[in-house]
């Protein structure tokens, strides 16, 4: 009888532990969505709504679509965004990348950009990822101040090379994506 009680207690405890962890995980998930995802969704809805309803969208579409619907155009876009002067300015919160991404998405939906260009476009709008955050990121890795001094320009210059390389790679990797379109 004693052994049975001990067994039941152990089962109860471990099930309780697992359910507790899952419940906490759900709580964390809801908090992440409330704090980080929903506010950005509202913000981007406002921006996209105004852009589309006011007609600015057509202007942006006319300039962006030709760039985003050819390999050369995408590489040009990458090079511009990866410029060491621009990349740290375009980085924060990936806001620019997210807005341009959403605009490109609606152009794909309208049929102005072929759908398989989605893949290279994902890299073309984002060669500046983290360029605003290099000193903080290195500090999180407990880097010496001298390393930060070298590291910031090293990463920025590196992006001039690896940014276009990523777009070209993604362009070749996009063959066979959405073949019917």
């Amino acid at each position: 009888m004693k052994g049975l009680t001990a067994l039941l207690e152990r089962i109860g405890r471990s099930v309780g532990g697992i359910v507790g962890a899952l419940y906490q995980a759900g709580r964390d998930a809801v908090e992440t969505v409330l704090r980080n995802v929903l506010p950005f969704m509202v913000f981007i809805s406002l921006v996209i709504g105004i852009i589309n309803a006011s007609g600015i969208g057509d202007f942006i579409a006319e300039t962006l679509s030709p760039l985003a619907s050819s390999a050369i155009g995408l590489i040009i876009l990458t090079v511009i965004v990866a410029l060491p002067v621009l990349s740290p300015l375009l980085g924060p919160g990936a806001v620019i990348a997210q807005i341009i991404g959403t605009l490109l998405g609606s152009e794909i939906a309208r049929g102005n950009i072929p759908p398989q260009y989605a893949l290279p476009a994902l890299f073309a709008i984002n060669p500046q990822v983290g360029c605003d955050f290099i000193p903080v990121g290195l500090a999180l890795g407990e880097a010496e101040p001298e390393t930060v001094e070298v590291g910031v320009p090293a990463v920025l210059f590196s992006r001039m090379i690896t940014g276009p390389v990523a777009t070209i790679l993604a362009y070749f990797a996009s063959f066979g994506l959405y073949p019917d379109n």
Binding site: L22, G26, A29, V30, T32, V33, N36, V37, M41, I44, L46, V47, G49, I50, N52, A53, S54, A94, A97, Q98, I99, G101, T102, L104, G105, S106, E107, I108, A109, P115, A118, L119, A121, L122, N126, V129, G130, I134, V136, G137, L138, L140, G141, E142, A143, E144, E146, T147, V150, G151, A154, S158, R159, T162, A166, L169, A173, S174, Y178, N181
Partner: protein, 190 residues
Amino acid sequence: MDALARLAESFIGLFQEGADFFVALLTGIVPLLLVLLTFVNALIRFIGPERIDRFAVFAARPGIAFLPLRYLVLPVLAVFFLTNPMAYTMGRFLPERYKPAFYDSAVSFVHPPLGIFPHVNPGELFVYAGIAAGLTKIDLPLGDLAIRYLLVGLVVILIRGIVTEAITAIMMGRRTNDGDSEDSVAGARA
């Protein structure tokens, strides 16, 4: 009066367009995101992120053979388990001369997994979701795009790690030759 009414209507219309867009995002993205986030959060809780530390010490060794560990496996594990921005703390296990390259590699991986593992960077989901929303609107599947984004991302972070490591080495070497900052570079090499 008529003109005023029309003005009011177009004013509200400006925001109605945004509201419609918001509802589409809300129903299309949030439910799946919540369930998926819960699953991955629980998984990370059961595995325990502190285990990554031991692997980082191993991956920090010098040598060309360790390049894929340093700039592929370690950043992937760091970003998956620690997410943005805590993933960059893994740099503390690496020697100074590899830190910029590791950061470059890790930070470049906070978007490519978003199609499958949005928990790594939910605050910047729209880098991927913005383009994906357009494809959904014309009824195209996203699985293939998500997988290709992830795979190309893996190749790109390895390339970024290698290129940035080389550029860092050249720049640190130049500083030694300049002479005036010898001790700082010696410190950086330690």
